[in-house]
Homo-oligomer: 250 residues x 2
């Protein structure tokens, strides 16, 4: 049974792409076939893995090509569908359908033929858009990476409000699987306070935190996963722990 997990936070720069890359890569290293779909117009998934392809998720949404021809291998057992600026074009076309209910089901409908993965991650980036709604209706689970700022609570609230809206649609359940504290630096009181606030309000759903670790930023700059770039670093340890947590919280 494929677990389809959307990774979303409307707040920018909260470690979403870093989490998608290293969570997916960690699961692939454990033997799971994984697909990552980039739904952020910035295309950072491809940049972070050093992968290019002429086809993108825009082709899937616009109906120009079947998903299978947009899938490209990134690592062993790790495939991706990339994104690019044509996603803005796709957003426009979705709005112009004039039927929001149909417009937000395009991705789920196109992707129904995609088989054979244990996990499909959707990097929703940070936009509140029809493309994001497509991701939330295709997914069965939601992960929310949050950085350690008091505004983090507001960000989660906005995502949960969207969850409620999606939840009201008959036949569609989207489970909040986890809140991932990112860039955690325990020596800052602010970080300790925000983490304990999260654990208080979302007990049971807060994953082990990902510590601030410059190796994670460097790895992306080198277009490598953390396990390739710095396998002994805190970043690798923390994402390996997250891999286990995700596997245990199916």
């Amino acid at each position: 049974m494929t677990r389809i997990i959307s990774v979303l936070n409307y707040k920018g720069g909260t470690g979403k792409t870093t989490t998608v890359v290293n969570l997916a890569a960690g699961l692939a290293l454990r033997g799971h076939p994984v697909l990552c779909v980039d739904l952020d117009v910035q295309g950072s998934l491809g940049t972070s893995l050093g992968i290019n392809h002429v086809r993108s998720v825009a082709d899937v949404l616009l109906g120009y090509a079947p998903p299978q021809s947009c899938i490209v291998p990134a690592r062993e057992r790790l495939d991706v569908i990339l994104s690019d600026q044509r996603l803005l074009r796709a957003e426009g076309e979705l709005w112009r359908m004039g039927d929001e209910r149909a417009a937000r089901r395009v991705l789920a409908y196109s992707m129904r033929q995609v088989q054979g993965y244990d996990f499909i991650f959707l990097d929703c980036g940070h936009s509140m858009s029809l493309v994001t709604q497509n991701a939330l209706l295709y997914a069965g689970e939601l992960l929310v990476p949050v950085s350690m700022n008091y505004l983090a609570m507001i960000g989660i609230r906005q995502v949960l409000d969207t969850l409620k809206d999606i939840g009201r649609i008959p036949g569609h359940r989207l489970r909040l699987t986890g809140i991932v504290p990112t860039m955690y630096y325990g020596r800052l009181r602010k970080d300790r306070e925000v983490l304990s606030l999260l654990q208080h309000y979302f007990s049971g759903q807060v994953t082990p935190p990902i510590r601030r670790n410059v190796r994670l930023a460097e790895a992306a700059g080198q277009q490598q996963t953390i396990y390739e770039y710095a396998p002994a670093s805190h970043g690798a340890m923390d994402y390996a722990a997250l891999v286990e947590w995700i596997a245990d919280h199916a």
Copy 2:
């Protein structure tokens, strides 16, 4: 002559809102009347200043209200037009106009009656959207806050590509006034390398860096400007230096 300055980076979390708040507040403290317009659906400008209003920039874009009735005072000489999730609705309506050329001029047209400010800042957030294009056609200048990661160069490239597209429109000139290095931590080699790369490629246009300073994050959590929350901090010093640089680079 009002300086209309859009603040944009498609990369999330690069200090855009923090820069808009503290640059605007610093100019207001120097005696300049300033207006800030939030064009990010997350509405972080209002949250950062502790300001609420029933009207938002969505009302301006949808034509529901004139800008004057959407303007709310935030501090002495500092006014704001807030944003909210209705901005997604506005984006949809702009697409449904079916005429992209007209759809991206709505903001400039509505705001032409707004007078009396020395500076108008547009917090464009991180989305590539029709709303952002509206901001870029209304503005005369562009500021790009970048955080110290190698992906920062890619982010600037994407913004400059948009600049070129806007530049091809007859009668519209948008000047890249500055690239603002944010969250700079000089003890990291990565940060020193990225800063010198920026200074090499954009010499003359790179502002003094804003150092990483937890007071800036705490100030936003307290819904205060840095000058209110921690006037003696590095954050306050660095943004005051940016205020001078902006004033000198008209």
